[in-house]
Subunit: 331 residues, 2 copies
DNA sequence: GTGAAAGCGCTAACAG
DNA sequence: CTGTTAGCGCTTTCAC
């Protein structure tokens, strides 16, 4: 049995093909009687629309493209959950692309995924290369950048201030009594760099900027690297009494390394992470972290991208963050 | 400037449209001279193939559909990395769907993603509902099930034995001297149940099956739940001297809970995880785990799905596992 | 509200 | 090896 087409349904319902098409896509433009006849015919024939044909004829898709830099970074799980949920209730599908923090790969993905044109594009940060930016600007589809308050957005931005997050964490650590706070960072994308800037400026404002106690690399951030970076930080600055980490994986690695060295957390070393992935709140001791609204960002990005009045929206939507203070910074 | 089509390229190269099409898809079927002319014309016109048109005309896609039950479970990161890498070198795109461990959602995704027909489907385990299985059997596209040695495969299987993994872990724990080993499990999908069966049978073979020390739930497995389950396990069986966990998140939660209770790992309690996600080997103490070949499974699944001689392949490919013994089970 | 005609851009099938 | 002819299944126009 061949698959039913629009024409088969039309015959079954004794109407024209175009009426079936309209009954399905824009039910309001069709009389109730016909709509019901069509619905019955669809059920009877088991008709499933052919997306390729629809795309070709309309040169439109009802899917939105989502580009994330990593799937192993648990930060994006929650973002994707928000996106999936919102997309599902808006009845659009999503296409996930993993750029692996590689602008060239991002460009390739865009080239490939922007054809046929999606209903919208969601991507991470503002670190696209020039070619990608041009592609996005020329594409006739809304673009939302997330996770960061990008300065010169392509269209719209939904995120939070990584800079302020770090500042806020640092003020807390200073208030808790730490005086020689270091910074550990990896995968230093613009967001991680904003965190580093926040760290520096907060210290500067407190007159504690020297010496600079940082240990930073561009390698992929993971738990193991956290330990390595702590080792190198303590080698250079044995007097460190606390560490702000550019993300939670590193913070966990720092905690483990402290345990191996017999350093008491929070007494000998205070630790603060960034993002507040579930796991840090379960570690022993529980780790302080800057909680970022990842699920909401995902949801909101979809809403923005699909908003028919997107042009009237503010270009930048700041969803904020919340510092979750836990045992690891309360000596 | 309108977008260039195949016809534009053909005019530019002074050949017919079908020649351009062939030069692009099957370069071997075209003379070198023409191929070069076509390539130049493509470059000059900036031609980008229209996928929708191609799909419609050929009723084929060069994309493969990948369904995973979770993106927050780090198990699938590696699998997806393997899939992505293999897909990229085979020049096919992938479409990721997240079933969220929900058979109905899986069925919906299949209905939606199997149209137009993908070059293949990769999905997790054998727990699809009847409707999904029927859809997959009727679809004219290869199906590979991964992560488990499914008994009645739809087409092919690439995985490892969860049962044997658990048995092997248990034998090691018994050898290490643990005598009252408990099992902690969550998200008890068929793979987790196989692990539980392995645990039970290994104990049975050693004559240590009673009393049964298990704490199992269907909730989503995460670090926090590991602690909760340990608490309930110890309440019922305070004599437990070791725990096999159905995955690494739980194992980490168990470790943290032990630390909170002042129980020494591995002396008071031995801990073994499953999957060997990078993090467990960094914890203090480093946690023993059953290492599963997730990256290879992903790669191999793509190779299988795309293999033109797929029919001659063995239905089940067992990629094995490796027990990584660490401090947490060496009292 | 509904329909008829005319493609969207590409590829399968067959000829040469 | 290359070209001709006919669609793929749907939606867009424009009539009615």
């Amino acid at each position: 049995m061949k698959k039913a087409t629009l024409v088969d349904v039309a015959k079954e319902a004794d109407v024209s093909a175009i009426t079936v098409s309209r009954a399905l896509r824009t039910p309001d433009m069709v009389s109730t009687a016909l709509r019901q006849r069509v619905e019955r015919a669809v059920a009877k024939t088991g008709y499933v629309p052919n997306k390729a044909a629809s795309m070709l004829a309309s040169s439109k898709t009802n899917s939105i493209v989502v580009l994330v830099p990593s799937l192993s970074n648990n930060v994006f799980d929650e973002v994707l959950r928000g996106i999936e949920e919102a997309a599902r209730s808006a009845n659009v599908t999503i296409q996930i692309g993993n750029t692996m923090y590689d602008p060239l790969r991002e460009q390739q993905l865009l080239t490939s995924l922007l054809n046929p044109l999606p209903a919208g594009v969601i991507l991470t940060g503002g670190e696209q290369n020039e070619a990608s930016k041009r592609i996005l600007q020329q594409a006739q589809t809304p673009v939302v950048q997330i996770m960061d308050l990008v300065k010169d957005p392509i269209h719209k931005v939904v995120g939070f201030s990584n800079y302020d997050g770090a500042v806020s964490a640092l003020h807390h650590m200073l208030d808790a009594g730490y005086k020689r706070i270091g910074f550990i960072g990896a995968q230093m994308d613009p967001r991680a760099q904003d965190r580093l800037r926040g760290y520096r400026n907060a210290l500067y404002d407190s007159g504690l900027q020297e010496p600079e106690r940082t240990s930073v690399t561009n390698e992929k951030a993971d738990v193991k690297l956290g330990g390595t970076l702590l080792t190198s930080l303590l080698t250079q600055h044995p007097d460190c009494d606390a560490v702000l980490c550019s993300n939670d994986d590193l913070a966990l690695g720092v905690l483990f390394e402290c345990q191996r060295r017999g350093l008491n957390v929070p007494r000998d070393v205070g630790i603060c992470g960034f993002n507040d992935l579930g796991i840090v709140s379960e570690a022993v001791p529980r780790v302080t972290s800057v909680c970022t609204p990842r699920f909401e960002i995902g949801q909101c990005a979809v809403e923005t991208v699909l908003d028919p009045h997107i042009n009237t929206r503010a270009p930048v939507l700041d969803l904020g963050f919340k510092l979750h203070v836990r045992e690891s910074t309360q000596p």
